[in-house]
Subunit: 151 residues, 2 copies
DNA sequence: TTTAATTATTCAACTGTTTAACTATTAACC
DNA sequence: GGTTAATAGTTAAACAGTTGAATAATTAAA
C-alpha cells in the first residue's frame, strides 16, 4: 500500500477541491438557467430554509459585507422574488421573505439541482457516500470553528 | 444505525459543500493577502504546474470564455507576474509563462496555503483522510466525465 | 485562391465584492 | 432627559470577474 506524505495529501486536496468546485458550479449554472445566478439561487435557498431573515444574518452566513447583500437583494427584489418588510418595533431592521414567485422559482430550480446531485451521488455505494459525508461534515466543523476563532 | 434517504444525503451534500467552499475561500483570501485575488492565485498555480500554456487552455480548465482569461491575464501581466510570447510558427497563439516575480509570489503564497490546508488535514486520522480523498477523486472523475459528455 | 476555422483581443454590459460615507433608529450612560 | 454609542441598512465609487458580440490576424481547407 502506498504511504502518502502529508504534502501529497494536501496537494491532492487542493487540486481535487478546485476541480470539483469549478465543474459543479458550471453544472449548477446549467440547471438554473438564465433566471438566476448561482449566488442568487443560494440566497433563495437560505431564505426558503429559514423563512425570514435580515441582511446582517445573510452577510454573516455568506461571509461578505452587508453592502454586498444589499446589492444582491435589490436585484432579486427588482425581479419580484423577495419582499422587504420593516420591523415596526425596531424600525432599523428589514425582514426578508420570498414572494410566491420567489418560492416557485426556488422549488423549480431546486428540483433540477437535486436531480443533478442525485445522479452522481447514486453512483457510489451507500456506505461510501455516508462515510464521505461524515468526514466532509467534520471538515466543515473544523473550518467553522477556525473561522469563529479568528473573528 | 440511521438509514438515510437519498434526499437527505443530497441535502447534506449541498449544504456542506456550500459551507466548506465559502469558508475555505475566505481563509485562502486571508493567506494570500492583498497581492493577489483567489482566481489570480489559481491561475498562477496552473501556469506554474504546466510551465507554459495558452489562453484557450486556461479557458477550458477554468470553464470560462476566452475573453475572461484575457482580462485576468492582462491584470497579472500589468503586475509583472506573467510573460506573453508569440509562437513564431503559428502567429495566432500566445504562450503564457510566469516571470521570476510571478514564480516567487506563487511560491510564497503557496507555502502559506499549504500550511493552512495541512493544519486542518492533520486533525484527521490518516486512513480517514485517505479514504475521503479517494471518494473525492472518484467524484471528480464522475463530474469530469459528465462535463466532457455534455460538451 | 477564396472560404473556414482558429487564436486572441476589445468593448459594453452585467454581477458580485469592498471601503467609506451616510441615514435612521435604538441603546447606554451621566 | 439629553448627549453620545452602537446598530441596521443603504448608497456610491471602484474594482475583479464574467458573457456575448464584434474584430484582427493568421492558418487550414475546399
Amino acid at each position: 500500500m502506498c504511504e502518502k506524505s502529508i504534502k501529497d495529501l494536501v496537494d491532492l486536496y487542493i487540486h481535487v477541491s478546485f476541480s470539483v468546485n469549478k465543474i459543479a458550479e458550471g453544472l449548477i449554472k446549467e440547471q438554473i438557467g438564465s433566471d438566476l445566478t448561482n449566488d442568487q439561487h443560494y440566497t433563495l435557498r437560505y431564505i426558503n430554509k429559514v423563512g425570514t431573515c435580515t441582511s446582517t444574518e445573510l452577510a454573516e452566513v455568506f461571509d461578505v459585507k452587508k453592502s454586498a447583500i444589499t446589492a444582491i437583494i435589490t436585484r432579486m427584489w427588482e425581479k419580484g422574488l423577495i419582499q422587504r418588510t420593516r420591523d415596526e418595533n425596531d424600525r432599523r431592521v428589514v425582514y426578508l421573505n420570498l414572494t410566491e414567485k420567489g418560492e416557485e422559482l426556488f422549488l423549480k430550480t431546486e428540483e433540477r439541482i437535486h436531480a443533478l446531485v442525485e445522479s452522481f451521488i447514486t453512483q457510489f455505494d451507500q456506505t461510501e457516500i455516508v462515510q464521505f459525508l461524515k468526514t466532509y461534515e467534520k471538515l466543515n466543523e473544523i473550518l467553522t470553528e477556525r473561522k469563529s476563532r479568528v473573528e
